[in-house]
């Protein structure tokens, strides 16, 4: 077994999840079953294979250009307001669970 209940508690904390006792037990079972299957990747020797985070620097761009030059088309002039105006404050706050009309409100961060 790769993942223990202790691991699940630790990872849940990293992910800002708490999980009920039932969910934790089920998570131990499910993660182990999935990771057992994932283990087959170790059949492959990848020591000389470069990692690939995404595909767009390899396809659809000018390979003659280097690094960020390939994506020069995606940059824009550094101007006030950029591509569009900011949302009006009331629209930006409209979906907030709690706001005071100017800011998002959250529970107290620093305990005295």
């Amino acid at each position: 077994m790769k993942v223990t209940e202790k691991d699940v508690l630790y990872v849940a904390d990293l992910a800002n999840l708490e999980l009920t006792a039932d969910e934790r037990a089920r998570m131990v079972r499910d993660l182990n079953s999935i990771l057992d299957y994932i283990d087959r990747l170790n059949q492959l020797d990848t020591s000389d294979v470069p990692p690939m985070a995404q595909t767009s620097d390899r396809f659809g761009v000018d390979q003659a250009k280097q690094g960020s030059e390939r994506f020069a088309y995606a940059s824009r002039d550094d101007i006030l307001n950029g591509l569009r105006k900011s949302l009006p404050r009331d629209e930006a706050l409209a979906n907030a669970p709690e706001s005071d009309g100017t800011f998002f409100k959250v529970p107290k961060v620093i305990e005295r």
Binding site: A12, I34, R40, T55, P97, F104
Partner: protein
């Protein structure tokens, strides 16, 4: 007008020729939704005001005798992972139950600019995570061909609505097969364009290096029309490619004779249903009779695609879903002790089981001590999978495979076994990892008389070729 077979051209010309109006058409679609959707569950939200305003605008154009835009008056549905200004957008999740977006996604804006009438938002697996639509926090979708079966996922509502004539076309999203697999299960056409072909601005992110937007439609031509509408560079999405957009509809008519189509034995192995296998074999035979040359190719790393996918996709998802914290939008837990408590309880209450499972797997794969063994390893295997296809495409113009190893399964059949559910994506995930385009088109029936999908994969940014092959097959199948 037969709504179950209505295409873009038929709808648009009927409105242009004044045999109907866009308003009457939208009303008749809403009547059909009211009649049929209680049993199917494809829609999460209807946007009647917005649809009827758009329809009235199109009718005014038609009344003046002006030329209608390419989707003028065409009733469409939008998967509920694309934000729509003023229209609730949930991503199939309770955490966004009351979210009213303040802007439109580019794909939706382009559809409407081309005259489309947005009927509503389509049901889907929560945050597009699932292969059966059973992970929707609201309700499952039932396959219109057999209501006891799943429509596939995660764009299950988008596929079911097209299959049952409740929308002419819909938009879906595909991260591991979520357009093509439900298209296959419901007997419709589903197209995943190349990574970067269609802007994702306003697409609620699941896995950013894998997410694609694309159409589900009744015909290949309709899929080509929609792709032409939504494709192309968007300054609001830096990952959208800076390449010209071909006239996909014009490309359909080019001959397929002499095209080389690859068949990879790795897509015909263990787990492939016999009836599906037979249907795919006869589709390949049909393509051969149309003058395509069938060429054996090898994609040797295929068996590693699912484990690679479930590391890359979950790692990215764990990062993307960190934004749901109950501060700026979405659900917030009540009576909390502290900010940290609010985050945890908000997410515990707001996310469903599969979403939590993927956040946990992705967080684990990225965590100290496991990053190299899991996430980095998967990125290296992603390179190997890409090389497989680069090599194959030196020999062939497109590759044909089954879309899914089985036809639609029963509701509940795999709901308690996440790994079995993940394996439903075995033939689709690789294209997402490699970034190539893929289309699924109906090709006969399984032994249970359920639709089977033929998948055609193409080179990067060569949607034109796979659309052309799909169109030729579709025409030959119907003759």
């Amino acid at each position: 007008m037969d709504l179950s077979t209505l295409t873009i051209d038929a709808a648009r010309s009927a409105i242009a020729e004044r045999t109907t109006t866009a308003t009457a058409l939208a009303e008749s679609l809403y009547a059909r939704i009211e009649d049929r959707d209680p049993a199917i569950g494809a829609f999460l939200t209807l946007s009647k005001d917005r649809a009827l305003a758009k329809a009235a605008h199109i009718d005014a154009l038609a009344a003046k005798g002006e030329k209608l835009p390419p989707l003028g008056g065409v009733p469409v549905g939008i998967k509920d992972v694309m934000v729509t200004r003023g229209v609730r957008t949930t991503a199939g999740s309770k955490i966004l139950k009351n979210f009213i977006p303040p802007y439109d996604s580019t794909a939706v804006a382009r559809m409407e600019a081309a005259g489309a009438v947005v009927l509503g938002k389509m049901n889907c697996d929560e945050f597009a995570m699932g292969s059966s639509n059973e992970n929707s926090a609201y309700k499952p979708v039932h396959n219109p061909r057999d209501l006891t079966r799943v429509p596939g996922g995660s764009s299950g509502g988008s596929a079911a609505a097209v299959a049952s004539g409740m929308a002419v076309v819909t938009l879906g999203s595909d991260t591991g097969g979520s357009i093509r697999q439900p298209a296959s299960f419901c007997g419709v056409v589903g197209l995943m364009p190349t990574y970067g072909r269609v802007s994702r601005y306003g697409l609620i992110a699941f896995a950013s290096s894998l997410d694609h937007i694309g159409p589900l439609a009744k015909t290949v031509k309709d899929a080509a029309t929609v792709l032409g509408t939504i494709a192309g560079r968007d300054p609001m999405d830096s990952t959208s490619a800076d390449l010209p957009v071909p006239d996909y509809v014009a490309e359909l008519e080019k001959p397929v004779r002499g095209l080389k189509l690859g068949v990879a034995k790795e897509y015909f192995g263990e787990g492939l249903d016999k009836g599906v296998h037979t249907a795919i074999e006869s589709a390949i035979q049909k393509l051969a009779t149309l003058g395509c040359e069938i060429v054996p190719v090898s994609l040797p790393h295929t068996e590693y695609a699912i484990p690679t996918y479930y590391l890359v996709a979950t790692a990215e998802a764990s990062s993307n879903l960190a934004r749901y914290d109950g501060v700026r939008y979405g659900h917030r837990a009540q009576n909390v002790r502290s900010l940290a408590d609010m985050y945890e309880r908000t997410r515990d209450e707001g996310f469903g089981a599969e979403v939590k499972r993927r956040i946990m797997l992705g967080t684990y794969a990225l965590s100290a001590g496991y990053y190299d063994a899991y996430y980095l390893k998967a990125q290296r295997v992603r390179t190997l999978l890409t090389r497989d296809f680069e090599k194959a495409f030196e020999k062939v113009d497109a590759i044909v495979t089954p879309t899914s190893p089985t036809a639609a399964f029963k509701l509940g059949e795999k709901a308690d076994d996440p790994l079995a559910m993940y394996l439903a994506d075995i033939y689709t995930v690789t294209a997402d990892l490699v970034g190539i385009p893929g289309i699924s088109i109906p090709c006969g029936e399984s032994r249970e008389r359920l639709p089977v999908g033929l998948q055609i994969l193409g080179r990067h940014f060569d949607e034109a070729t796979i659309l052309r092959v799909a169109h030729a097959y579709e025409q030959a199948r119907e003759n």
